[in-house]
């Protein structure tokens, strides 16, 4: 359980954040400069807030009103930095064991061998950080934080300095942590893709303020937050269950409350929970069920909300069953079709638009 309610001024920058979360992975999402790193530094004890409080699992780490300040070294907060920050003069093994040394024996729960195999870093143990690739460095940094047996793990854009291939490699390991160690994590990112794969709840940050906090599908479906949840990559996020695979065609059917979706490239067994992001710009709207069309997902629903137009575009929320989809249309289309809240409509989604990049495994 993480509770944050802080205000801090740093030069011309103002941080005002307030949220609580008790899920496995909480994402801090926002553009660069939104104050995500400052907020994480407050939780870790590297920045002392002007005002407010931070609690982890009921333990007060900061409370300016009661003059409580726990210094960083006594917080037992694991921190994986954007740039790794490994100790250059120590070997990988010494780096890993560093935090463990400072953890009281009765507080240690992380086991060296387990962490090494979890992160596949056995071959690296005797090397020094200078001899590691970017992805290897981040894996060691994660292992080092874990071996201090933290009560919460903060990951500050751990993929930011990596290329695309290394990114999915580290994402895979972070998923492993989430599923095998059950340690609460705060994951900072400005990539929607990572949130969809990892997080249950998200805190939306903008200009130093926490604008919204809630379950990922709920936040992503809110039209009023659209300007902040990603212009290009943004869209509805659905929690689904794998219903069937068509191995001949490589098509997977995902079931959600009130409908089904066909998509490609899903690597999960029937019955497994899968989260899928449907980008608003990949969704079209039809007033009648179209015939003779290649689009495989034609979902009957109802227009629920029409957002404020932005330039030539407008976002529309359609309720299908118990979930919402977002569609981004031209303002002209929306007017010509006479879209209005309450009107029945069909949401059209190409299956090829839902590939492995839009899918996360819960």
């Amino acid at each position: 359980m993480l509770e944050v309610d802080v205000r801090h001024r740093q030069g011309g920058f103002r941080l005002e954040a307030s949220f609580a979360s008790d899920v496995a992975v909480t994402a801090l999402f926002g553009r660069s400069g939104a104050g995500k790193t400052t907020l994480v530094n407050v939780i870790a004890g590297l920045v002392r807030p002007d005002e407010g409080r931070v609690l982890v699992n009921g333990r007060v780490l900061v409370d300016t009103a009661r003059r409580v300040w726990v210094p960083a070294q006594r917080r037992r907060v694991g921190y994986v930095f954007q740039e790794g920050r490994l100790f250059p003069h120590l070997t990988v093994r010494q780096n890993l064991l560093y935090g463990r040394f400072f953890t009281a024996a009765e507080d240690r729960y992380a086991v060296l061998d387990q962490v090494i195999s979890l992160l596949d870093i056995a071959p690296l143990l005797e090397r020094r950080p200078a001899a590691l690739s970017g992805g290897e460095k981040q894996r060691v940094a994660i292992g080092r934080a874990l071996l201090a047996s933290p009560r919460i793990l903060l990951l500050d854009e751990p993929l930011a300095s990596l290329d695309a291939g290394r990114k999915s490699e580290i994402l895979f390991y972070v998923e492993r942590l989430r599923d095998e160690l059950r340690i609460p994590m705060v994951y900072v990112t400005h990539e929607i893709e990572e949130i969809v794969r990892l997080a249950e709840r998200m805190v939306l940050m903008s200009d130093g303020r926490s604008v919204a906090c809630g379950p990922v599908p709920e936040i992503m479906a809110r039209l009023d937050l659209r300007p902040m949840t990603g212009r290009f990559e943004g869209g509805a996020v659905l929690d689904t269950v794998v219903a069937a695979h068509d191995l001949d065609y490589g098509i997977t059917t995902l079931a959600f409350p009130g409908g089904e979706l066909e998509c490609t490239g899903v690597d999960a067994l029937p019955g497994e929970r899968v989260r899928v992001r449907i980008r608003a710009r990949d969704v079209s709207i039809a007033l009648e069920r179209p015939a003779g069309i290649s689009v495989r997902n034609v979902l009957a629903g109802r227009i629920a909300e029409i957002g404020a137009p932005r330039g030539p575009e407008v976002d529309v929320r359609i309720e299908v069953g118990q979930v919402s989809l977002l569609a981004r249309l031209t303002r002209r289309s929306a007017e010509e079709l006479g879209l209005a809240p309450g009107r029945p409509a069909y949401a059209l989604v190409k299956s090829v638009a839902l590939d492995h990049r839009s899918v996360g495994y819960a």
Binding site: Q73, R85, F102, R128, A130, R144
Partner: protein, 233 residues
Amino acid sequence: MPGLTPEEWEAIRLSLRVSLSGVAASLPLGVAVAMLLARARFPGKSVFDAVVHLPLVLPPVVVGYFLLLVLGRKGPIGGWLESAFGVVVAFRWTGAAIAAAVMGFPLMVRAMRLSIEAIDTRIESAAATLGANPAWVFATVTLPLMLPGIVTGALLSFARSLGEFGATITFVSNIPGETRTLPIAIYTYTQVPGGDLQALRLSFIAVVLSLGALLASELLVRRATARAAGRDA
């Protein structure tokens, strides 16, 4: 080396002992002052910085004279040392070591300070999040990372000490076997008739020692830098 007289050997041994002791004794203080100058903010810091660098620009004789005033048997600190502990440094080899250390101190601090300023403090805050308190952070991160600066500083100060003349002769005079270090011995031989050969021989030895110190520093710095940067030397 054959042909060296016992007095000449004495001067060489004494020089090495004075320089090594001076460096060893001033090393912890050097690290502390370098940390203060590199990291701390306090009023009067620029004055403090100037005082630390003073021996670099003052005539060595002046430094030696001040040392005599303060640490001499009638000086405020020297007198107290003698009455409280029975320790006398004036006109002793320990006094020569102090003079050498004071003269080499600015060079030592400067090298260390530069290497502290090159350390990424974010690595230190990473250590804090892993549970290390400030003393542990210093011992396990800062100190190893500033090692190249410590080595350079120590060797610069050592080389400066080997050549120390003015402050030493003013503070502890020229006593054979006690304070007659290599440069003072050379000077003495040039002052006596027929001492030219001995002066030349000792000068040659001084060249060898200084060259050796420089080469050793080059080697050690290379290794220390490699270690701090995480490469195998």
